[in-house]
C-alpha cells in the first residue's frame, strides 16, 4: 500500500513539474494533413512529345511535423526511336517511403515543406523492340525482341520543396535520384526505360517531378518551437559558486577538511 501511495505521489509530482515546464516554453499548433498530389510534368510533356505519357499521383499522411508516410503510384506509356531501333514500354509502378521535412515548424507553419524523401520503388511493365537493324560489311541484319513482362526494383532519394498557394492547395517539386536494385531481365536483353525508374540501361537515373497537392488537415498538434532556457539567476549562482571555489576564501573554507584528511 505504501509503495502504491508513493508511486501516485511521485507521478503527480512529475505531472505538475512537466506541466509547469511546458507552460514556460514557446509552442505552436501545427496541422497534420493527408496530402493528395498529382504530378503535372508528365501530362504537360505529353502535349509536347506524344511518345511519352506519364501519369503519377501520391497520397501522404503526416505522422508529425517532420515525418510523413508516402505512397505514390503511376502509369507510363513510352515509345522511343533511335537511328536503328524502336522501343516500346508500358506499365505501372508504386513508390513508398518516408518524407522528412527539414524546415523548422516556425518557418514551415504547416504551409511549407522543404526536405527529402526516401522511397522503395516497384515497377511492373511490358517492353518490346518491334524493329532493330544493323548494317555492316555483309549487309543489313534485322530482328525484333518480342513483348516480355518484367519487374523492376529501385531505391530513390527525392529532395524537394512544396508551398501552399491557396488554402488547402500547395505546389512543389522534387528531384529524384534513383538507384536500380534489380530487374528480372537478363544481362543482355535489358529494357532501356521502365516506369518509375527511367533510363534502365544505367544503374543510376535522375528525374524531376512537379506536383499540385490537395491538403486535408485531420489533426493539430502542439509543437515546442523554443525550449525553456535555464534561468539567469541559477546560472549566475553557479558561476558564483565556481568562482568561489577558486577564490582564496573558498580555499580557506575547504582547508580545514583537507587538513583532516
Amino acid at each position: 500500500m505504501r509503495r502504491i501511495c508513493g508511486y501516485i505521489i511521485s507521478t503527480l509530482a512529475l505531472l505538475l513539474f512537466s506541466s509547469s515546464f511546458a507552460r514556460s516554453q514557446d509552442t505552436l499548433w501545427v496541422p497534420l494533413k493527408v496530402n493528395v498530389g498529382l504530378e503535372v510534368m508528365g501530362p504537360v510533356n505529353y502535349f509536347i512529345n506524344k511518345d511519352v505519357l506519364s501519369v503519377e499521383g501520391y497520397v501522404s499522411v503526416d505522422r508529425n511535423e517532420k515525418l510523413s508516410y508516402v505512397l505514390a503510384a503511376g502509369y507510363l506509356d513510352y515509345k522511343y526511336s533511335q537511328y536503328n531501333y524502336t522501343y516500346l514500354n508500358n506499365g505501372f509502378f508504386i513508390r513508398l517511403g518516408p518524407d522528412f521535412n527539414i524546415l523548422k515548424p516556425k518557418k514551415s507553419k504547416g504551409k511549407y515543406w522543404g526536405g527529402i524523401g526516401f522511397r522503395y520503388g516497384l515497377s511492373h511493365y511490358q517492353w518490346e523492340v518491334p524493329s532493330l537493324h544493323q548494317a555492316n560489311y555483309w549487309g543489313e541484319a534485322s530482328a525484333s525482341i518480342p513483348a516480355r513482362k518484367e519487374w523492376g526494383h529501385f531505391l530513390e532519394a527525392a529532395p524537394g520543396m512544396r508551398a501552399e498557394i491557396f488554402p488547402h492547395f500547395s505546389m512543389g517539386w522534387t528531384v529524384s535520384l534513383r538507384m536500380l536494385i534489380h530487374t528480372n531481365s537478363t544481362d543482355d536483353l535489358k529494357p532501356i526505360y521502365f516506369p518509375g525508374y527511367g533510363n534502365a540501361a544505367k544503374r543510376f537515373s535522375t528525374g524531376f517531378s512537379y506536383y499540385i497537392v490537395w491538403n486535408i488537415p485531420y489533426k493539430k498538434i502542439r509543437v515546442i518551437t523554443k525550449k525553456e532556457e535555464p534561468e539567469e539567476t541559477d546560472e549566475t549562482d553557479d558561476m558564483n559558486s565556481n568562482q568561489n571555489r577558486n577564490s582564496p576564501d573558498y580555499r580557506q573554507q575547504q582547508s580545514p577538511s583537507d587538513n583532516m584528511r
Binding site: L103, W138, V175
Partner: protein
C-alpha cells in the same frame, strides 16, 4: 527568412539543371559492332609478329575489301553477320591467300539508350586453309564490342 529563400533558389537552380541535363538528347559514342579482334603471331616463337602486308575480304566479295594491302597491321577485325551463322573470308598474308571460315551463334545485347541494341556472338569453330596460316587459337570466344583479343593467327 532570406536564408530560406536563398536555399529555395539554389535548390530550384540545381533541380532545373538536373532536369535539363536529363532531357537533352545524347548521341552514341560507343562502338556498336562486334568484331573478331585478331592478332598475328609467329608459329616458331609464339611472339606477336605483324605481317608485312595484309588484304582481307569476304568470300565472293573481292570488289569490296575490308583491308587492302595494309602494311604491318598489329591486329585485324573480322566482321560477322547477325543474319547468318557462318561467314567466309579470303585473307592474304604477305601475298599468300588463305580461306578462313567462322561458325557462330548470335544474340542481342543492349549497349545503351543512345546506341541501342547490337548483336554479340559466340564462336563455335574457325576453319582455315594452310597456305600460310599454321594454326588458330581463341583467347575469348564471346565476341563483343570490347576491344579485347579474341583470336590468334599463327603463321
Amino acid at each position: 527568412m532570406s536564408r530560406l529563400y536563398k536555399g529555395i533558389l539554389i535548390t530550384i537552380a540545381a533541380g532545373c539543371s538536373i532536369f535539363l541535363n536529363s532531357c537533352s538528347l545524347k548521341s552514341c559514342f560507343d562502338v556498336t559492332e562486334s568484331k573478331v579482334n585478331t592478332g598475328f603471331y609467329s608459329k616458331e616463337t609464339g611472339k606477336a609478329v605483324p605481317p608485312d602486308s595484309l588484304t582481307l575480304f569476304g568470300m565472293n566479295m573481292d570488289t569490296s575489301k575490308i583491308y587492302n594491302k595494309v602494311l604491318a597491321p598489329e591486329t585485324v577485325q573480322f566482321p560477322l553477320y547477325a543474319s547468318d551463322t557462318s561467314v567466309k573470308f579470303i585473307i592474304k598474308i604477305n601475298g599468300i591467300d588463305d580461306t578462313l571460315e567462322f561458325r557462330y551463334s548470335s544474340y542481342i545485347h543492349l549497349i545503351s539508350k543512345e546506341c541501342g541494341y547490337t548483336w554479340y556472338y559466340t564462336l563455335d569453330t574457325a576453319l582455315h586453309s594452310f597456305n600460310i596460316i599454321d594454326s588458330l587459337s581463341f583467347s575469348k570466344k564471346t565476341i563483343t564490342t570490347l576491344s579485347e583479343e579474341n583470336m590468334r593467327i599463327y603463321y
